[in-house]
């Protein structure tokens, strides 16, 4: 049973026809070919699939297409500025916060959600924000430095 789903993705209106039980993650990656968002654990623990959903960081593996009508979604593709990397992304590179890179899009989105709400977060606030993004190679120190150096956006 397919239905019409409309939402705003990275500032642009999108309308698609799909099964309402499709996960937002699959909608982004398979239907819309926005493959920046990664699939890790698929059960809401690792944070690799984090997107910004109506202004808040959320796991796209835990949201269904039937829930996204009229919502605003930002994915890692939406961070780009003038066809290049944003300040936050550049800082992740400069501070060495990217190793295998699989957790990076999710960590960027959690950090971006924080910086949208809080111009100058403390180290504690940054740590708490990144606690839902599991990284098993770089570790967190470099990510925390990157977020700190990006504030304010």
């Amino acid at each position: 049973m397919k239905s019409n789903i409309s939402f705003t993705l990275n500032g642009k209106k999108v309308t698609i026809i799909c099964n309402p039980g499709t996960r937002l993650l699959d909608l982004l990656r398979d239907t819309l070919e926005f493959t920046g968002t990664k699939e890790g654990c698929s059960i809401g623990e690792c944070g690799a699939c984090t997107v910004i959903f109506n202004g808040k960081a959320a796991n796209s593996c835990l949201i269904l297409a039937g829930q996204v009508n009229n919502s605003e979604i930002i994915t890692v593709e939406g961070l780009a500025e003038n066809g290049g990397l944003s300040k936050l992304q550049k800082m992740f590179l400069e501070k060495g916060a990217v190793q295998c890179g699989f957790c990076t899009p999710g960590a960027l989105m959690s950090a971006y959600a924080l910086l949208l709400e809080n111009e100058n977060p403390t180290e504690e606030e940054i740590k708490k924000t990144l606690s839902g993004n599991l990284c098993r190679c770089t570790g967190y120190k470099q990510m925390i430095d990157a977020v700190k150096s990006s504030a304010p956006l």
Partner: protein, 296 residues
């Protein structure tokens, strides 16, 4: 895998009640989705046969937190982020805001709701022990009308409550009758973040004239569901607080947990830890009572 689903998005409690009154089998309410959706993903047998979800995201009347002279009302669809950051909750019910802040990850707390937590009624539902010591009530509505009941009576066995398929919980109501109580919440997980609780305890203590006037203890994860430990509470009331009493009640807690759960592979560890936890928490609360200015 996620089944073929119809997802309905009503805009008011009345519309939800109307939809539920059809008693269509396979219909379930969807709040934050942080239990149901991963449940589908791992083919959990708890969520088989669902073909219709009623999404509560647009029911705005269930998302506010309000205060009156004698109680605080939390909309059932408030997220844990809403609760942990709300000043009314932080000031009046700090154990609840602490528990809300310890659940899952920031991404989960942005989605998961308080009512979803206790309707799912997992043993490790972190918000349950604080709500139980605060004597929280819930309001549920069906086509037949409104009803207020205590949360404690609502929780039956793991993953089951008395809330019927045609009812929706719309509010959590917490009476403000706990002035002068000292309280604490403690969660033990395998790590500090994104952890499923192994043991949780919520405690409220009221001391007057160096006697325990009232005490409320609730446990989670280490008991089959979040529950009040009334025998232990009653065994302390009227007695003088101090090491001896705290030691005795902590020992009895271990016995009580073994009675309820039987001997498990984890008991050798958990019983000792939960006894030590209770002892330390009671000592801490009593210290805060005796020397409140040091705490501040």
């Amino acid at each position: 895998m996620i089944p073929d689903l119809e997802i309905l998005s009503p805009g008011s409690v009345n519309e939800v009640v109307e939809l539920l009154s059809k008693n269509k089998p396979g219909t379930k309410l969807l709040a934050g989705g942080t239990d149901i959706i991963p449940g589908f993903q791992i083919d959990s047998n708890r969520f088989l046969d669902i073909d219709c979800l009623i999404d509560l995201a647009r029911v705005n009347e269930m998302k506010s937190i309000s205060e009156s002279d004698d109680e605080i009302t939390i909309g059932a669809a408030c997220s844990f982020d809403d609760i942990s950051s709300n000043k009314i909750i932080i000031d009046n019910f700090p154990l609840l805001s602490e528990a809300a802040n310890a659940i899952g990850s920031p991404q989960i707390r942005n989605r998961a709701t308080n009512a979803g937590n206790f309707i799912n009624n997992a043993p490790c539902a972190d918000s349950v022990p604080p709500l139980l010591v605060y004597d929280a009530l819930i309001e549920k509505i069906s086509i037949e009308g409104k009803q207020r009941t205590s949360l404690e009576e609502t929780l039956l066995v793991p993953y089951q409550t008395t809330v019927k398929p045609n009812e929706i919980v719309t509010k959590i109501i917490i009476p403000k009758k706990i002035k002068n109580y000292y309280g604490t919440f403690y969660k033990l997980g395998r790590r500090r973040g994104v952890a499923i609780s192994r043991i949780t305890l919520a405690i409220l203590l009221l001391v007057e004239d160096d006697k325990i006037k009232d005490m409320k203890i609730a446990s989670g994860a280490v008991t089959p569901i979040g529950m009040r430990l009334r025998e232990l509470e009653e065994s302390c009331i009227g007695k003088s607080p101090g090491k001896e009493l705290f030691m005795e009640v902590s020992k009895n807690l271990g016995k009580k947990i073994l009675d309820v759960t039987g001997l498990r592979w984890s008991s050798h560890y958990k019983v000792k830890v939960v006894q030590q936890m209770l002892y330390q928490l009671l000592e801490k609360l009593y210290m805060e009572f005796k020397e409140p200015e040091i705490e501040k």
